[in-house]
């Protein structure tokens, strides 16, 4: 039989008096709260050590590196072409855009980035814009879901599924596409792909309008994120933000406009910017960017040289056997092409010594590759400038003063991905 314990039950007045007695110890005492690395709102494995005064954050210290795989070290130990699949896994929500960025960086080193065939440029632009829509849709869906609007997540995933189908049709993979090659793309567009893409664009805008009716003027949504975590223009530049986070603070800087690459010069699109720099502005910028991406896609479908079936046999690769693998038919029958094939596969393309940096306007911001080449088929050093890494570094600046329940909103509006941040 258990022992009988005496329990003292105070009346309400006595309890209140006791609580007041305990109060002075709690006042001014800060609590340290560990958020993540496996927290649903940190979208991956971000850990933030928060220091709280009551419900208000007084200090935030992000702890990253849980997904560090040593991509830069790996890149030093393989040929340029072999690294393409690793770029899929940087920003794994927009693998097509990463492929394009990496291929352009190596082509800049080779000096062939201006000689890409027009059809290849259009295909790459379409890939990058599809990836942008896909990444923004996920960012938006996850952002809204963290705020309690689960429906938005379901709607955005319906559209993302169509983009996955398009990616599967061109590359054979839905997620890890590895579609580009140095000097071109893996293969030309399959028959009917442009029609499928046009259909997607036509369906996407009404679908985005529907999402917009759920959020943009929704009282709960607006009250929750407006004037939250305001990033001033000066801070945005000082902390090196890029992409929608930089434009959300009102700075009109987009690498597609300011340092045009591929065929962006021939396409019409606008760069949306925010006015306040709060979470709501960043949300609005992303919404508008998706519309602009759809606009670019529609122009590409109209303008692409060769059209849907490529009846005129427009090339999609640079005509340089020392960069792009020759067709299998020729490898089997011609001596020179056999040698090219052998050298390319075993040693990689012969890159000149030198150093280049190429920044690409990725969905999350500026994805840059700094390549230090000492000649040969392997980089001596490759630094990846990951936009999420830089964008997250502003957390210690903007978190203090926010409520603890605001953290999920701020993280959602920064829209980062840890695969890229940790590399």
């Amino acid at each position: 039989m258990p022992d009988i314990q005496e329990i003292q039950i105070h009346d309400p007045a006595a309890r209140a008096a006791l609580a007041v007695e305990d109060l002075p110890d709690a006042v001014g005492e800060k609590m340290v709260l560990n958020m993540g690395p496996s927290h649903p709102a940190t979208h991956g494995v971000l850990r933030i050590v928060l220091e709280l005064d009551g419900e208000i954050i007084t200090k935030a210290d992000p702890d990253i590196g849980y997904l560090h795989r040593g991509d830069e070290k790996i890149a030093e130990n393989m040929t340029y072409t072999q690294f393409i699949p690793y770029t899929d896994r940087l920003d794994y929500l927009a693998p097509l855009a990463n492929n394009v960025a990496y291929a352009l960086a190596v082509e800049k080193l080779l000096g062939i980035d201006r000689d890409l065939p027009p059809r290849c440029q259009y295909i790459r632009v379409m890939c990058a814009e599809l990836a942008r829509i896909s990444a923004h849709l996920l960012g938006l869906g996850a952002f809204a879901m963290d705020m309690g609007a689960v429906t938005v997540f379901l709607l955005t995933f319906t559209d993302r599924e169509k983009i996955y189908n398009l990616a599967e049709a061109i590359s054979g993979a839905r997620f890890t596409t590895s579609y580009t090659r140095i000097g071109g793309v893996m293969r030309d567009l399959p028959p009917g792909w442009l029609d499928q893409c046009r259909k997607f664009c036509d369906e996407f805008i009404p679908s985005l309008n529907e999402i917009e009716t759920l959020l943009t003027r929704n009282r709960i949504w607006v009250d929750r994120i407006r004037n939250l975590a305001v990033i001033s223009k000066e801070d945005a530049i000082d902390f090196g933000l890029s992409g929608p986070n930089l434009r959300g603070s009102g700075i009109e800087w987009d690498l597609r406009k300011n340092q045009p690459y591929l065929c962006y010069k021939d396409l019409e699109f606008d760069i949306p910017t925010g006015s306040v720099g709060d979470c709501y502005d960043r949300y609005l910028v992303r919404m508008e960017e998706m519309r602009q991406s759809a606009r670019i896609l529609q122009q590409c479908i109209q303008k692409i040289p060769g059209g849907a079936d490529n009846k005129t046999k427009e090339p999609v690769n640079v005509p340089d056997g020392k960069v792009v693998l020759p067709p299998k038919q020729n490898v089997m029958t011609k001596m020179e092409e056999l040698i090219h094939q052998f050298i390319l596969v075993t040693q990689g393309m012969n890159c000149p010594p030198g150093e280049i940096y190429f920044g690409h306007e990725n969905p999350k911001g500026e994805l840059g590759f700094y390549i230090d080449s000492r000649g040969g088929g392997t980089p001596y050093r490759m630094k990846i400038r990951a936009p999420s890494f830089v964008n997250l570094s502003i957390i210690p600046k903007i978190f203090p003063g926010c409520l603890i329940s605001d953290t999920v909103a701020v993280l959602g509006s920064l829209d980062f991905v840890m695969g890229e941040c940790d590399r």
Binding site: G368, Y370, S393
Partner: protein
């Protein structure tokens, strides 16, 4: 103003400290001969030449050469769109240079990453800790003498201080223990399925009288 003109302005101001601008693929690179002066040069580039945006800081390990480290700063001016790359070298014995966090705050994490990956220290950095690897990791993995396969090191002891709450149970993996198939109590092998099922039905006493019960098979009655 082009990037080359910016580089020449920098050269005009600092003289021998700055090398002749080198161009490759349309990018301008200047070498800074004395790493200690990097803050002054960066401040001048930011204030006078309006390079308000620091894109990136990279580092290169020139293993077997002297000086061993190269630190590379990518500068950009958002107003004029010009870009400039500054390079400076640091010897292995010193492995230290001043921080530029006071010029651009974004340098904070870039410098922490270089410290973490290469082991180059930045003097005056407000918070020079490891960033991608964990605190207490003994190596610098991006150095050329660090093997690709890695080196064994002790993981921090905070991850698994106690056995997992359901360790030893069917759903918790134990290092070196049985695999999931072997541990799974309900595993069935297809050939013996029918035999086993019959045996189980028999053991349970699940016969015609008990089968019709509303709430499951009911208590197992001992065989008479």
């Amino acid at each position: 103003m082009t990037s080359l003109e910016f580089a020449q302005k920098l050269k005009a101001r600092f003289g021998d400290l700055i090398s002749e601008p080198a161009e490759f693929r349309g990018e301008i690179t200047v070498k800074v001969s004395e790493a200690e002066q990097i803050v002054e040069i960066c401040e001048f580039a930011k204030k006078e030449l309006d390079f308000n945006y620091l894109v990136d800081i990279s580092s290169v390990d020139n293993y077997g050469e002297d000086p061993r480290w190269t630190v590379i700063y990518h500068l950009r001016g958002l107003a004029h769109g010009g870009e400039l790359r500054l390079k400076t070298e640091v010897s292995e014995e010193k492995s230290e240079l001043p921080t530029v966090t006071k010029v651009w705050q974004t340098a904070n994490w870039h410098e922490r990453e270089i410290y973490d990956m290469m082991g180059v220290r930045f003097r005056g950095h407000p918070d020079l800790r490891r960033i991608l690897m964990w605190e207490g990791y003994p190596y610098f993995p991006l150095r050329k003498d660090f093997p690709l396969a890695g080196k064994p090191s002790e993981l921090p002891g905070v991850a698994f201080t106690k056995p997992a709450p359901m360790a030893g149970g069917p759903f918790v993996t134990v290092a070196g223990g049985n695999d999931a198939i072997a541990r799974e109590p309900r595993v069935r092998i297809p050939e013996t399925d029918a035999v086993e099922l019959n045996a189980r039905v028999e053991a349970r006493g699940d016969n015609k009288e008990t089968r019709g019960r509303a709430f499951g098979p009911g208590p197992i009655e001992p065989k008479k």
